[in-house]
Amino acid sequence: MKKILIIGATSAIAEVTARIFAARGEALFLVARNAERLQAIKADLDVRGAVRTATATLDVADVAAQQAIIDQAERELGGLDIVLIAHGTLSDQGECEKSVAALRREFEVNALSTMALLTILANTFEARRTGTLAVISSVAGDRGRQSNYVYGAAKAAVTAFLSGLRQRLAKSNVDVLTIKPGFVDTPMTANVANKGALWAKPDAVAAGIVRAIDKRRNVVYLPGFWALIMLVIKHIPEAIFKKLKL
């Protein structure tokens, strides 16, 4: 039985991932903002076979409250083997271009809060010399695009942070997994019309996350074909890239 902490447990990808863990009989500690929805997910995971589930509410941007929640998770489960950090908001790019407050808010939720959590978790995992820190970043962090570069820049910060953390924790046998989903059909992206062939279901992404954790991978694109797409996008020369409508 693995002891698993999930931050942002009411996100669609996190919820489906938690179902896979529950069916395996793992123990789960779920953290999100909305208590009622956490309860709905907890009940579902209990039925599906989770050995133990517990929940706590947290606004991740409230960095000062993070330590207490992590301590609570450690206490409730008797330690931690895996942490999945899955919270996030899809920034309103237009608003972030007009308002520095909106820009700061996006960075606090999508970058700073994650790095703060990882700072606390890295120290306990490093001391314990085992476990996995799995974090949902995004393909958007691979290269800034005019349509969502604030979100992309926040995710780029997370990706770079994870890369460094991975090097540091490798010596302590702690796995750091960077998860880069492409387009996923979730409530967060409900406003996107005309979802084409590049869009994946949360189930497929969740199965990929569990597989990557099991296989102790470093970086995964989900679905896998995004590795190829981003390879191409990253290598387009700036002189051409700046004229594209991506």
Partner: protein
């Protein structure tokens, strides 16, 4: 999966806004036009369509709420698929109390159409196994309904075609099983008389009975078919779970692949190659043979198909089924899968429940336009004259006059329908 906002028969076409529902505590959206819940789009015609309005896509309501492993009582959100319940329940020794011929229906859809299966003679419809559900109305009220609480809304919502509000969650009783296997016996019958005799003598000892009938046969072969009767098997020596082949129809061919010639050839082969006798089969191929072929509805081409399922009362059954089959055989159309089953005489769970005492016949027709519609109107004449009914979940074309004949209590629905809810089907039959 097919696009959200289409039905399984791919006819008729409808344009509507789609709003996904994800959380059972959330309110319904405010819409300008009217709304209709849409589950997994496995009903055939327009009971799940709402041209010009909004569909509330319920698949995101897919959480379990509680399961009691001692009693087998399951409570879950209404967007959970029967397929998911089977994956969950069968390894724990439980099965769906009633299941239609596809496992890709939602719990909400199963209630709203009050689905039945091969065990109707013993177990009735899905609605008969419900204990309670929550209904969310457009005015924001949430009403827990059961046979003793809001009983009027309870019986209006079972088979209520989604018109009374959104079913948010439901609680029902599962069936205890000893293994995932079915003990099945196959028997050939030469004519309808033999079918009725086999049916009558199988009802007591077999939980599941159904027949395939050769709807293309005429002359001496008229009325021939295969009778399948089965029970859940006890723990057996069979342990190898079959790997179900995952075929799929990869694209829609430009015309229907089902025509008079291919139909007669298929049926001849199917009848002759059938192996009579006993077999142990896994529940998946037994209950859901067509689920193994993804998007099989595409074989009928871009114009789609019409499914016709009717029931005719016992006294008139043999004569009416004979007349229906003759009419169909003479038309040279019809489908490979024509199904015949005897329903028991049970109190209906819902005001608009389709199953009733008598014999039910179901088959598909490729949509060939006016010729198909006129044939189905002639079949309606036979069904109406016999005092029978046609199944709304399969229908895309019955007239309002026929609907009101088939469902004489339809007026009891009117005060219970949510004023903001409607469907393509409902507007059609209320004309």
């Amino acid at each position: 999966m097919s696009a959200i906002g289409t039905s399984w028969g791919r006819y008729p076409h409808a344009r509507q806004a789609v709003v996904p529902l994800h959380w059972r505590d959330a309110a319904l959206p405010s819409t300008e036009g009217n709304m209709l819940p849409y589950g997994n789009g496995r009903s055939y015609g327009d009971v799940c369509l709402n041209d010009g309005g909004t569909l509330l896509h319920t698949r995101g309501l897919d959480r379990y709420i509680a399961f009691d492993p001692a009693s087998g009582i399951l409570r879950c959100e209404a967007g959970v698929l029967f397929a998911d319940i089977l994956d969950f329940a069968v390894p724990r020794g439980w099965f769906l109390p009633v299941t239609p011929g596809t496992r890709f229906v939602t719990v909400g859809g199963a209630i709203a159409n009050d689905v039945h299966g091969k065990n109707h003679h013993g177990a009735g419809t899905f609605g008969e196994h419900l204990l309670r559900f929550e209904l969310l109305r457009s005015d924001g009220t949430r009403i827990e309904c059961s046979p003793t609480q809001h009983a009027d809304l309870y019986s209006a919502t079972i088979a209520g075609l989604g018109l009374t509000g959104v079913i948010v969650w439901a609680e029902f009783r599962l069936l205890r099983i000893a293994s995932p296997w079915m003990a099945q016996e196959t028997r050939r019958f030469a004519n309808l008389g033999e079918f009725f005799a086999l049916s009558a003598q199988s009802e007591r000892d077999y939980a599941y009975t159904v027949a395939w009938i050769d709807c293309a046969a005429s002359g001496d072969s008229f009325g021939r078919g295969l009778f399948f009767r089965a029970n859940h098997a006890p723990v057996t020596a069979a342990t190898r779970t079959p790997r179900q082949r995952r075929l799929a129809v990869p694209f829609t061919p430009p015309f229907s692949l089902i025509n008079g010639l291919s139909l007669r050839a298929f049926n001849e082969l199917y009848f002759r190659r059938a192996r009579e006798g006993n077999a142990i089969v896994h529940y998946e191929p037994y209950f859901y043979p067509l689920d193994a072929v993804g998007e099989w509805n595409r074989i009928y081409g871009p114009r789609g198909f019409l499914q016709y399922q009717c029931v005719v009362p016992p006294a008139a059954a043999e004569a009416a089924v004979t007349e229906l089959l003759k009419r169909i055989a003479a038309s040279g159309t019809g489908s490979f899968l024509a199904v015949l089953k005897v329903f028991a005489d049970r109190a209906p769970a819902g005001i608009l429940s389709f199953p009733r005492a008598g014999t039910t016949l179901a088959l598909d027709f490729p949509n060939r336009g006016a010729a198909t519609f006129s044939l189905l109107d002639r079949l309606d004449d036979i069904v109406a004259a016999a005092g029978g009914a046609v199944y709304p979940a399969k229908d895309a074309r019955m007239s309002g006059v026929r609907f009101r004949q088939y469902f004489p209590h339809w007026q009891s629905m009117l005060p219970r329908i949510d004023p903001k809810f409607s469907s393509g089907f409902w507007r059609r039959v209320m004309e």
